[in-house]
Symmetry: C2
Subunit: 74 residues, 2 copies
């Protein structure tokens, strides 16, 4: 799994744990809904500024969003 | 400290631990020397693809490069 895929899977998992919709996370992080959807599917290549905004809204340590152990390896 | 600054400080620390020069890391990660210098100083906003390339050359877990505990807080 590439880093963007690990990140995306973790964002989706934590977002759902927080009971947030894709729409509400996109709005709070000031990102386009479709762009955030692509990030969660690992199809985008976000910058660290975008990573930081998402982590802030999710109240998550950014490092935790890059942990492979949180998502099963394929 | 912003995420890009934490990342940059960790890249510099791990690179020096590996005994690598900025030049050799830049070459191996296929990045411009000046761009990598800016990343280490936290002045750039690299994408996850760039983060992945740097982590690969440093043989480091990408998540470890985002840990605050590795660098003293200011």
């Amino acid at each position: 799994m590439h880093l963007a895929e690990i990140f995306g899977a973790n964002v989706r998992r934590v977002r759902l744990e927080r009971g947030m919709t894709l729409e509400s996370l996109a709005t709070e992080a000031d990102l386009a809904y479709s762009y955030l959807g692509g990030i969660e599917r690992g199809q985008r290549n976000p910058s660290l500024h975008v990573v930081e905004r998402i982590a802030h809204v999710l109240e998550s340590d950014p490092a935790a969003l890059f942990c492979r152990t949180q998502t099963p390896e394929k």
